[in-house]
Symmetry: C2
Subunit: 168 residues, 2 copies
């Protein structure tokens, strides 16, 4: 089940890659400086677009590595363009492709800790459901909402990606 | 596992209830007409706040009922105030409280259809992971983002709700 949920989130992170291309095309067509898009924010004390994308990447990368008991690769937050952000997304997609269902065999019972939890811990099952998954969707959706707010033409299909629909 | 994910989403829908109270307090303190908050939107062709909340409610209600093979109660979209929206949230929370893990025993293999899928179907497992859960978080996060955009003081803890942290 973890591997399937990661495949789902991986699919939606790949969709975010396509939003970055749509944002670049929108900027070209409307004489918008792409650097302005990276600094978009919905509230003065919320993270700007560039951080929303970086955190979407990191939330997914760290959730997979923590639940599999692996060391995650470090990705410094140095992106200054939409292309560089797309490269960051591709790096995380490739990292996620290395995981197999077997990697998550012990995920539910791992002990997860984070510095900000001040010595407390969560089980892998609780961490995934209460923290990693909702946070991933929080930052993914904020990335989407920021682009929509600035006029980038995106719709629900761009968010969800292809569905496993079939004839009955 | 379905019952646990629904408990998580129920918890976050209850958090949305607290955001509505924070929005009402913010409106009172800043001489904002609460009716204006209901019509907030981030893009001209996106749904306004009132619809984001209603769809958050419906996505969760319908996902639970479809995956359990039950008939969902009908909730017409007639809310015209923050209080009425909060009442709608409470109604859905109470509805979700009736479900037991046993109700979802056959969830993964149910055949799910929707009018907009034009005769195609999804398995319950695919529907939950690819459609219901991402859509719930999409509309929940848009509800949050709209309030943050209008200055309502909310933070990540208000989004996630209480976490199952414990001492190691």
């Amino acid at each position: 089940m973890y591997h399937e949920f990661f495949a789902q989130m991986r699919k939606q992170l790949a969709q975010l890659g396509t939003w970055l291309d749509a944002a670049a095309a929108h900027a070209r067509a409307n004489d918008i400086d792409p650097a302005e898009l990276l600094q978009l924010r919905l509230a003065p004390d919320q993270f700007p677009f560039v951080r929303q994308v970086q955190i979407s990447c990191d939330t997914l990368k760290l959730a997979a590595s923590r639940l599999a008991g692996k060391e995650a690769p470090s990705h410094p937050d140095t992106e200054t363009s939409l292309d560089e952000l797309h490269a960051r997304v591709r790096t995380v997609l490739a990292y996620l492709d290395q995981f197999t269902p077997h990697d998550f065999a012990d995920a539910a019972h791992r002990v997860i800790s984070q510095p900000r939890w001040e010595g407390k811990v969560m089980s892998g099952a609780d961490y995934f459901r209460e923290h990693a998954l909702p946070n991933f969707y929080f930052h993914l959706t904020h990335s989407y909402a920021l682009l929509r707010h600035r006029g980038v033409p995106l719709g629900k299909r761009d968010y969800l990606g292809p569905l496993s629909l079939h004839l009955p």
